[in-house]
C-alpha cells in the first residue's frame, strides 16, 4: 500500500468524537419533532429504571429486571421505531422520581400516554391512578370502581401488566385480608414502596 493510500486511512481514533456528536444528536432529534419515543435511565433505590415517553407523555417505566433490548423492540413495534436515548424529555420525571424516593413528593405531574394500555386494563389503571399517596385500596374496591364488582381477578391481571409502575401506583392495591398480593416488580418492591409512603397495611 502506498504512502498516499495509508494517509487516506484517516488515522487517529475518532470514536470519542463520534460518540459525543451522536449524543448531541439526541437533542437535535428531540427538538425536531421527529423523535416519537425518547428514553432515559433513571437511578433509583431499586437500580436503574428505564423510562420512555412519547411527545404526549409517559409510555413506560421498567424495573432493571426487564431486558432493555426487549423493551426497545416492544416500543419499536407498538409505538414507533423512531426511538432514541434522549434524556432531556424525561428530565422533569427524573427530578420527580428523585423527590419521590427522597420522601418529598407525593404525586407525579407528568403527562401519561395511555396508548400501550387497552380496554379494561386502562379503566383499572385510571382508577388506580387516583389512589392517594400513603393510602391503600383492595382489588375488590378497584373492581367496584371500574363498574365490574366481580372482576377482582381481572383487576389483578391488569395491575400486573401496568406498563408504568410507581407513577401509576399499582403498589397501593392490596388484598382484602391484609395480604400484599402480587406486584409487577416483585412483592419486596411493593412492600418497600408502601413503607416509603408510610401506608403499609398493618
Amino acid at each position: 500500500m502506498s504512502e498516499l493510500e495509508l494517509t487516506l486511512k484517516l488515522r487517529g481514533d475518532l470514536s470519542r468524537d463520534a460518540a459525543s456528536v451522536a449524543a448531541r444528536f439526541a437533542e437535535t432529534a428531540d427538538g425536531s419533532g421527529a423523535l416519537d419515543v425518547a428514553y432515559a435511565m433513571v437511578d433509583s433505590p431499586f437500580g436503574p429504571l428505564l423510562v420512555a415517553a412519547s411527545t404526549r407523555g409517559l409510555l413506560r417505566l421498567a424495573y432493571p429486571d426487564e431486558p432493555v433490548e426487549a423493551l426497545m423492540a416492544q416500543l419499536a413495534e407498538e409505538v414507533s421505531p423512531r426511538i432514541l436515548e434522549a434524556p432531556g424529555r424525561l428530565d422533569p420525571l427524573r427530578r420527580q422520581l428523585d423527590e419521590y424516593f427522597a420522601g418529598s413528593r407525593r404525586r407525579f405531574e407528568f403527562p401519561i400516554d395511555w396508548r400501550l394500555v387497552h380496554g379494561f386494563g386502562r379503566d383499572v389503571l385510571r382508577v388506580t391512578a387516583h389512589i392517594p399517596y400513603g393510602k391503600v385500596s383492595t382489588y375488590g374496591d378497584v373492581a367496584v370502581r371500574t363498574g365490574r364488582p366481580k372482576a377482582s381477578r381481572a383487576v389483578g391481571n391488569a395491575l400486573g401488566a401496568n406498563p408504568m409502575p410507581i407513577v401509576i401506583p399499582c403498589h397501593r392495591v392490596v388484598r382484602t385480608g391484609g395480604g400484599l398480593g402480587g406486584y409487577t416488580g416483585g412483592v419486596q418492591r411493593k412492600e418497600r414502596l408502601l413503607q416509603l409512603e408510610g401506608g403499609a397495611p398493618r
Binding site: S2, L4, E5, T7, L8, K9, L10, R11, G12, L14, S15, D17, A18, A19, V21, A22, R24, F25, T28, A29, S32, A34, L35, M72, A73, L75, A76, E77, S80, P81, R82, I83, L84, E85
Partner: protein, 154 residues
Amino acid sequence: MRLPPFQDLLDGNREAVYRFLVAAVGHQDADDCFQETFLAALRAYPRLERSDNLRGWLLTIARNKALDHHRRQAQHPLPTAPIPEAAAPAANPDHTEVWSAVRRLPAKQMSAVIYRFVNDLPYRDIARLLDCSEEAARRNVHEALKKLRGATYE
C-alpha cells in the same frame, strides 16, 4: 415492516458516518453534517421499505449532505481569510493538503475514495452505494488516486 429502534442505527453506524464526514468536509463541519444526516434519516425512517442495508442507506445520506455542503460553500465562500493551521489543531494534524485535494475531487471520485480507504468498504459495496458497476467503482478510485498523487506529490 419491522424496523430496529433508531438508537441501534445510531450506535452501530455513528463512527462510520462520522469518519466519512470528517474526510469529506473536515472536522470543523463534520458535526453539523452529522446532525443533518441523522435527522434526514430519522424523518424518513418509518417509510423505509428495506432494512437489509441500513449502513449503506446512512452513508448515502451522508454523501448527499457532504455534497450539499460543498455546493453551499462554492456558492457562498467565506469572506474571511482561511483559519490558520494553529487555530485548528484537532483538524487533520497531518496531510492537510491531501484532504483538501480529496475535497476538490469530482463528487463520485471523492465519495469512492473515501468509502474505499476511510470506510474500508469493498468495491462491491461501493458500486452499490454509487449505483454503478464494480468496474466503474474501481475506476473512480483509480482516477482519484492519480489526481491526488498529481496534486500532492508533484
